[in-house]
């Protein structure tokens, strides 16, 4: 049963690793530019992209059955609610 499970090729792992290194360089370089309030969103955006690549390929999520993806999605939604409601409070004090 699990023998039929997809194996991620060496080639894809190496490519994703190189992309992660490049994205790290990009995010460091951008941090030296002064974009004002945009800095934090660019940094978080690149961090999220890197994480998505690690989750999809290194953690094999791209090839997992839907229940795995659903569990992660639900968790991220709960976290978003946690952040969102905290800031609805904090921003309007």
């Amino acid at each position: 049963m699990s023998e039929h499970e997809h194996i991620v090729s060496y080639k894809i792992i190496v490519i994703i690793w190189l992309v992660l290194l490049v994205l790290t360089g990009v995010t460091v370089a951008v941090s030296y530019l002064n974009l004002g309030a945009l800095n934090i969103w660019v940094a978080l955006g690149i961090a999220s992209t890197k994480s998505a690549l690690v989750i999809s390929f290194f953690m094999h999520m791209k090839y997992e059955r839907p229940i795995f993806k659903l569990c992660l999605l639900v968790t991220l939604c709960i976290l978003a609610i946690f952040i969102g409601f905290t800031f609805i409070d904090v921003l309007y004090r």
Binding site: S2, V8, W17, F68, F87
Partner: protein, 199 residues
């Protein structure tokens, strides 16, 4: 002798459930960061400038490479290349140790300058700055503890593969340890962005 029934998918889902709780744990710490950044923007910026992007960036590259090695090791094991698997796993552990060595130097430098939880210096600086450093130590300290646990788990996997308990037919232990390790990497990706880059 009845064969012990193993549920690979169930076992993997179980590890994912645990990782999702870890996301909530560190997520909580990041929310604290966000709320206090909103309250003390100037102090967070001036405290953040005291963190060295070379330590943070270097450690980011170290953990990304460590994750790369463990991902490769799973493919190697499933392709029955046991010696390659053990080499790659050794690389994973080696880079994990390198991360802790960097962390040791980074924290030593800070502690040498009197910046550590409960220090006299912490009482003198602005409240926003001391909160920044408290959050920095709690978050990176908890993360460092996870790295140490990861090193132990990866070493356990190494020996299990060496003794053929984990192999191309039954690789769930390595896969689950790998999943844990990737999450440790992802947490650091966000720590790096929020503590070293933004401020």
């Amino acid at each position: 002798m009845s064969e012990h029934h193993k549920d690979h998918t169930g076992g993997k889902l179980g590890m994912w459930f645990f990782l999702l709780t870890e996301i909530m744990l560190f997520g909580g710490l990041f929310i604290l960061y966000a709320v206090y950044l909103k309250r003390y923007p100037k102090e967070f910026i001036s405290a953040g400038e005291q963190l060295d992007i070379r330590f943070g960036g270097g450690n980011t590259l170290v953990l990304l490479t460590s994750s790369f090695f463990v991902a490769m090791s799973i493919t190697a094991l499933r392709r029955k290349a046991k010696r390659v698997t053990l080499c790659l796993l050794s690389g994973t552990i080696g880079f994990a140790v390198l991360f802790m060595i960097n962390k040791y130097f980074e924290w030593s430098a800070k502690i040498h300058h009197g910046i550590y939880p409960g220090s006299p210096h912490m009482k003198e600086i602005a409240p926003g700055e001391s909160i920044f450093f408290s959050l920095y130590y709690i978050t990176t300290g908890l993360h460092g503890l996870h790295v140490i646990i990861g090193i132990l788990l990866l070493s356990w996997a190494w020996f299990a593969i060496k003794t053929d308990r984990v192999n191309h037919k039954d690789w769930l232990l390595l896969e689950n340890v790998g999943l844990y390790w990737h999450l440790v990497d992802i947490i650091w990706i966000f720590v790096f962005a929020l503590y070293y880059l933004v401020l």
